[in-house]
Symmetry: C3
Subunit: 140 residues, 3 copies
């Protein structure tokens, strides 16, 4: 078994901006030359997450953001705001809830995703950010 | 280190149907012959999740489903419904929230789970589905 | 590639007690002697989770706990309470939602975390607990 680690850099708009990384992750697996293993996709930072979703406009432009706004609203008297003069308490809560990483297995060099299942970066922060996503391939 | 990948196929009833996969996953680890490592349990598709839970009827037949119904209700004017004529917007949101995979370490060929902690597939879709869960063992 | 597995034992106070494990996890990676790979951090039990968060008092002493109390309240007629005479139904739901593990890649022996991103144990149980967290390093 071997391991290789790459970075994806992406500029986001924040506010639950959802970016499809599937093609880049699949290409990194292909370039690794490994046939069977798992890829760890991990975002650095505490106001963004990695998950999978069907990448269609209804969900990614509206439903997922509105859902998280209902359960962890932007406009709320978070202690994080009072202590630091920030406005992104909701982003921290959402990121810790959804989580910073996803692990996806591959066989014959192909990710074992469903047709309607994409790997995405979700940026919950309340401004545009330059994000670094680490893509680590472990396998043989 | 070595890697092996197997599939579990299971028919679900949807609507937050929770299926205990612990025994099958433990058996796949045992059959791999590996002693120390981690198992990646990953469900293909964007309306189901993998997590751990105490597999007792109160939680798996009622509490977890009702909890998700409160935070991501079935009956809601999701954009996903308007665009695609579907009724499973809630299933997509819940699946992206809980996540498609869990990674569980093992030592001496045994999963390091608690006694009351089972690995489960949760199918959030709004109909019966035939699901494929990939179980990949990485270790030595 | 090689694998090593260690344990962290920690006494918690329950009720969404959040414990920073970053230093211990980084030290276990360093002691492994491995340069590039991923660490699996997994908590045994069904009423606690592992995630990442900015470890500052506003979020960890107040906001995250209050957020989870709003979406999965302690005081609720859970079936789990009726069947088992327990009071920790909320803890089970929160733990299954946030998840039992996180996977963090490292390069040059250093975890690829952000400056304000810590690996934490979150104990949702409704009493003090002695917790075992497994830290497994896979890499080369």
């Amino acid at each position: 078994m071997k391991v290789t680690t790459k970075e994806i850099r992406v500029r986001t708009r924040g506010f639950t901006d959802i970016i499809d990384l599937t093609k880049e992750v699949q290409e990194i697996v292909r370039e690794s030359g490994l046939r069977e293993g798992s890829v760890v996709v991990f975002v650095r930072g505490s106001t963004a997450s990695i998950t999978t979703i069907e990448y269609e406009p209804g969900l990614v432009k509206k439903d997922f953001a509105e859902f998280l706004e209902r359960i962890a609203p932007y406009d709320y008297p978070y202690e994080h705001h009072k202590m630091w003069g920030d406005d992104n308490g909701s982003a921290h809560l959402r990121a810790s809830l959804v989580g910073p990483s996803v692990v996806v297995p591959f066989v014959d060099g192909r990710l074992l995703l469903g047709t309607w299942q994409q790997i995405v970066l979700v940026d919950f922060d309340t401004r545009s950010r330059d994000r670094t996503v680490f893509v680590q391939v472990l396998g043989s």
